[in-house]
Structure formats: structure tokens, C-alpha cells
Symmetry: C2
């Protein structure tokens, strides 16, 4: 009944990580992983604990809660229970150097983008490292290239995503319904069709249940979120779901930008609908241009190209007028046109300046050219693509958007 991550998969991930560290940080001696997402990546379970990875020994997953569940879920070969860091510290100190006077290395590699100061202090009490270095980008680089197993999960997420957004949403739109209602109905349908029911972001303190579900100009209302779209949200204290006040009216552009996931792996997709009547031709033209941009970028999503090359190839072709409100309304522009996607919706590399490493086969990206239009909302599109030698293979459907729902 439990979908376990295959052992070969777990072993391969750890081995890729070690190889990556040996190249990028040849003097590394120990990494310790705390975040549930990376624990899941390396062990197949996200129980609370820490994964200690010494350079020259087998890694150990120390589980605080629940050890039983970790054993049920994970094929990882080395799982130990702990009540506190003290238990793990005793054992690590005894084993790691084979001597009673054993010492930890000076430097520990941690997920510094995730581990809070106080957690580190509690940890350091029993693991008195002198220095901390970041392991965030190294793990991200390993996670960026997906295995066949991971791609099969992503393809399944994409299939559900396409079916729900392209086939089912049109029948869900009813005049007078609120954004909040469409949000919860859509969430139910996604889960019913196979979505894993979560939508995960890596950025600090960023919450999401579903994504952005917006009627009309709501999709250009500013949010704290680092994406091109906006939304009203339910209330200042919980701006996650759509607004309860904004009701669907004839003539509205409907903007649905949500995640869908299977066994942890997300695809990202945006679909737009014209409810009750067509949009003005200039808005349709802008939308179609965004679709062309997506396809153009997808065509060059090939091994060897770099994200910055793709970004600049696309951006340099756009004239000043089109660039206005492109990738964000007003001054709320984001500086990318796509992003990696996998266990998190916001993975690296990002299709943006500064990402100059060449792409590899098996990387997965969401491309999302979008443009805000005053009094109408956000047009454009988003789909998820696998990098192949033929260019990006779309796994979330081929509908060009602005689906008429009359």
C-alpha cells in the first residue's frame, strides 16, 4: 500500500551527492541534513530527524519521530532512533573515527537556507563544529537532474494537471461563484484525480496550498510571492486561497496557476479561461504572443544551453512596449521566465540571468511567460517541460489557453 522510493534510487541519489561534493567541495568531511524535503529525497521518508553523511562512511538517518513510521516507509539501510541529539552524538563520536578520543571535523555542511539559528544552537551543543558551510546549492544541483523514476512521477503529475485544468475546470466555472469556492473545489478535484495534496516552496516563510485562482484584475493585485501573477487572497492574515468577495462575472478572464504533485513531485501549470464572453482582441494578441514565447523558449530547452542564454535570447527579442507589464504588472516584475520544478515548485536553476551552467537531459522546468493587462488581469501561459536533445518536452498539455467558457 505504501509507495516506497526504490533502494536503487536512494543509493543513486546519495552517490550523486557525494560525487558532487567531492568535486565542488573536495575537503568536505560531513554534511547533516535536517529539512523534510531533503530527508525524503535521500531516505524516502520525511520523519523528523537528521541525516548524517560522513565523507568516508555510510550515512545514518537518526529519527526522533516516528522511528516506526520511518521503518515502514523507507528502504534506506541505516536508520536509527534518537530521543535527542545527545543519543546521536554519542554514537557518532564513538564510531566515526574508531577511537575513544574521536573528534568531529571542524566544518559541517548544512542546509543554511532552512536551518534556523536556534535549531543550529541546540545541535551544536552536542555536535560542537567550529564552522558551518552551506550545502543548499549542492543538493539543489543534484536534485535538479531527475531520474527515470522521478520523471515517471512528474509525467503522471502532468497528466493529472492537464486533465484537470484543460478538461475539468471549464465545467466548474459558474457565474457568481467566489474565487475561494473555485479554489477549494479545484483542490478537491485535483486530489480526487491523483494530486498528492500539497504544494511546496523552498523560499523562506512562503506558504501555498494550491496556487493562484483569480478572476479578472485579481490576478494583477500585488502579493509577497516572487512570481509574475498576483491575487487578492482570502484575507490579509491568510492570503492563500482566492477571495471570498470576488465573484465570477460574465466577461471575466479566469487565471488558474496551481501546482499538482504525485509522490512529492510537482508540475506547474497556468491555464486561462474567458468566462461569458471573449476578451478584446488586443488582450488575445498579447496572450498569443506569450504562448509563442513559451514555445520558443521550450524549443531551446536542450542539454548544453544555459538558462541565462535562454533568458536573454527571449528577452532581447521583446520590444519595450511588450516588456511593459511583462512578467509582472507595474513594477512588480520578476527577473525570470521559468524555474526548475520537482520536490519543490521553486527549484534551481532558474531561467534567468546569472544561471550560466549548461542544462542536462532530465532537468525539468516550468516556463511561464505572462503579462498583466490593466482592468483585465494576467494573460499568458505556463507548462512544465523535460529537457531533451530535441528541446523541451511538454508534460502538462498543449492547450494554448484562453479557453472560451460561454
Amino acid at each position: 500500500m505504501i509507495q516506497k522510493v526504490p533502494l536503487t534510487e536512494l543509493k543513486n541519489r546519495m552517490s550523486c551527492f557525494r560525487k558532487h561534493m567531492d568535486i565542488s567541495n573536495p575537503d568536505w568531511e560531513m554534511a547533516v541534513i535536517f529539512s523534510k524535503i531533503n530527508l525524503y529525497y535521500f531516505t524516502g521518508t520525511m520523519q523528523d530527524g537528521m541525516l548524517i553523511v560522513p565523507k568516508n562512511e555510510e550515512a545514518t538517518f537518526w529519527v526522533r519521530r516516528s522511528y516506526e513510521r520511518a521503518l515502514d516507509e523507507s528502504l534506506f539501510s541505516n536508520i536509527e532512533p534518537m530521543n535527542s541529539f545527545r543519543d546521536a552524538a554519542k554514537s557518532v563520536n564513538k564510531v566515526s573515527k574508531g577511537s575513544e578520543e574521536s573528534k568531529l571535523p571542524d566544518t559541517v555542511y548544512l542546509e543554511t537556507e532552512v536551518v534556523p539559528l536556534a535549531l543550529y544552537q541546540r545541535f551544536q551543543k552536542y555536535f560542537p563544529f567550529k564552522n558551518v558551510k552551506s550545502v543548499d546549492s549542492q543538493i539543489a544541483a543534484v536534485r535538479a537532474v531527475k531520474s527515470e523514476y522521478e520523471l515517471s512521477l512528474l509525467r503522471e503529475a502532468g497528466r493529472i494537471h492537464q486533465h484537470v485544468l484543460e478538461d475539468l475546470v471549464p465545467d466548474m466555472l459558474r457565474e457568481g461563484m467566489s474565487e475561494a469556492s473555485l479554489s477549494t473545489e479545484l483542490f478537491s478535484v485535483l486530489v480526487e484525480e491523483g494530486h498528492h495534496g500539497a504544494c511546496r516552496f523552498g523560499m523562506f516563510d512562503t506558504e501555498m496550498i494550491l496556487g493562484n485562482v483569480c478572476f479578472g484584475e485579481s490576478s494583477i493585485y500585488p502579493t509577497y510571492f516572487n512570481g509574475p501573477g498576483g491575487k487578492l487572497g482570502l484575507c490579509p492574515a491568510a492570503p492563500l486561497l482566492g477571495s471570498r468577495d470576488r465573484k465570477l462575472r460574465k466577461g471575466d478572464l479566469v487565471f488558474v496557476d496551481v501546482g499538482c504533485g504525485v509522490d512529492g513531485y510537482h508540475t506547474d501549470k497556468t491555464m486561462t479561461y474567458m468566462f461569458g464572453s471573449s476578451l478584446p482582441q488586443y488582450a488575445v494578441d498579447i496572450h498569443n504572443k506569450c504562448v509563442d514565447i513559451q514555445n520558443e523558449a521550450a524549443a531551446i530547452l536542450k542539454p548544453g544551453t544555459s538558462p541565462s542564454e535562454i533568458y536573454n535570447t527571449i528577452m532581447n527579442k521583446l520590444d519595450e512596449e511588450f516588456l511593459q507589464n511583462f512578467m509582472g504588472f507595474g513594477d512588480r516584475k520578476v527577473k525570470f521566465i521559468g524555474h526548475g520544478v520537482g520536490l519543490l515548485i521553486d527549484e534551481t536553476p532558474v531561467i534567468a540571468d546569472g544561471f550560466d551552467e549548461p542544462l542536462h537531459e532530465g532537468m525539468v522546468f516550468a516556463l511561464e511567460p505572462k503579462k498583466g493587462i490593466e482592468n483585465i488581469g494576467m494573460v499568458g501561459i505556463e507548462n512544465t517541460f523535460i529537457v531533451t536533445s530535441e528541446g523541451g518536452e511538454c508534460i502538462t498539455g498543449d492547450n494554448p489557453g484562453l479557453i472560451p467558457v460561454f
Copy 2:
């Protein structure tokens, strides 16, 4: 249309915080707040940025994204835009001591339980503090005592919570439905009835959309979560919603432990149902004893009593047999019988050993005596109470649970 937190409320919160710091950390000079929950508490908006609180000057909320939305949502008097920490650093250095050679204080008070190492490093580059001290417990102590405004939101959350769990859930249970379906249907109904659509935890890397929705023995299956109940969850990679495989059968105990919130403030409530037939009498007896324990603890939830007193009064009366599987099945016991609740579901103080400070009028607690029973699941109850001189005032309903749904 936007529900703004009143200015008097914001001013009072900041003033309570300053007073608390003056007493607990008389030599404090500056606190900087990053977490969205505390930003919301002090400013009424959770836009991305930081709130700088110097001891002797007005606080400033520096907003990275979105400044516009922060202005729309917040009545806080001092909101400034920033692109990066540099902008804020320039201005703080210029203003804070009135001299060009101004210096920051040596020590900054931060939310060390929330701020990741890397965020602190980026911040410290422009704000070169020498020491960091924790401001977590001080803010938690201020937040623990709710104002009349906050209590009115909590009462409204409690009203919705009662209505949905006591009146509506019985009609939602259908033989053969999955836990996952009940989860998403319940989420939709809660939002429709007024729930703000989020369920927030403070504990490191702890996710929750709704809570635990379990059929039968699923409610005693172990999780990483620090609570008495358990759940199967949807899959190892996303154990948030209920299981897709576990279908409702006649004779099942149904266990629903979910949060409900209004404008950021949560109540916490657990309701149980007997589906299709009654539970055996011994299970009903254990359940009833849990209800008695809840009521007994509620009766002494008065100003002046301490959480540890309440905890020990209750625990000392229970015999060894009853304590088996009480507050967690097997060895998965938690060491509390209740917890503070508000902007987070897991606030302090906790009704547990070690919390010796006396209660104040206006504190709010969830009391949740529960006990696991093999092959049946988790029985017991949970409701949310306001501390009053008459004892805890229940704001989430009075149904004793095990509602028969035949």
C-alpha cells in the same frame, strides 16, 4: 472590503512587547522581526520584509514585496519600501543615532526559532551586529494574552468550528468514501462557512493544511507530528491529507482533529463519530473519561493557576492502566494535555510540566485528552477555551463526541 487590524490594536501590541522586553531584557536595544506571523501581529500585513524595533525610537516596517499591498492592508504608521537590506541599513544607520558615525547596538534580538542561518548572514552583511539573542519567547508571551478584538475573532472561529464538526460532518460521512475525500470536502465546507483556509504551526518544518482526518486505526498510526493522534496520510512524500486507500466502513470510529481560523486566529477542536454501529462499551467508557478529564482541566483554567499545576493535578489522578496509550498510542506519548492557540495552532504556554508562570485572563488554550485503543483508534476530545476567573470558557461547542452516524 479588506479586514484591517485596528490601529489601537497594533499600537497596544507593540507597547506590550516593549514593556515585556524592558522587564525581561532591560538592556535590549533593538529587535528585528522577520516571520510573517509576527509581522502580521505587529503590522496587520504579512508582506515580505522586516520590522525593525529600536528601543528608543518608533518601529519601521521595511517591505521588500509588496509595498503597495502592505499600504493597502496595514494601518501601521511607519512603512517603508526596500529593494534589499542595503536600503534599510543606510537609513537605519543615518537615523538611529543622529550622527554620521552612528553604530548599531552590539546585540540584536531575533526570532531565532524561525530565521535560517543564511538569511541571518545576508542580513548581517548590512547590519553587522556582534551578538544575536532570541526574542521568540518574549513575543510568544505577549501574543499569549489575547485582546477583546482577538477574542472576538477566536469566538467566531469557534462558532464555525462547532457548526461544521458537530452539525455538518455527520451528514458528510458515506460508506466507502476515502479519508482523502473527507479531508478535501471538509476543507471546502470549513472555508465556505468562514474558515480562513490555513492551519499554521510554529514548529520547525511542520506542514498542515487541515489536520487529522482518520478512519479507525488510522488515527493511531505514527506521524512525525508532536500530537497525541496519528494518521496514515496520503503518501510518504505528502502525509498531509487523509489516505486515499483507507475507505470508511461500518463500525469505524471517525476521528477529526482540525484547525479553523478567522482573520489569522485559530481554534483547535477534535470530534469523534461512530459510523454504522456503536463502539464496544469499554471504548465508550474510555472516551467518556477523556471528556471528564477535559472538563476537569477546563474548570481550573483560571488566572493565577499555572499550566504545570493543571497538568500535574490531572495526571496524578490517573492510574497506570489508564495512562497506557493516554496522550499517544504505545511509546508515542506527548508530554502535555493542552496548548496555547492563536495565530499558530501550537502556541505557548503548553499545559505541561515546566510551564510554571501563572495564567492570565484572556489566554486561550486547546485541551485535548485522548487515548489510543488497539484496533479501534484514538478516542477523546478537544476544544478551545478562554481563561476566565470562572474557569475555561469553551468557545468550540459542547458536544461530548462519539456522535452516532447510523
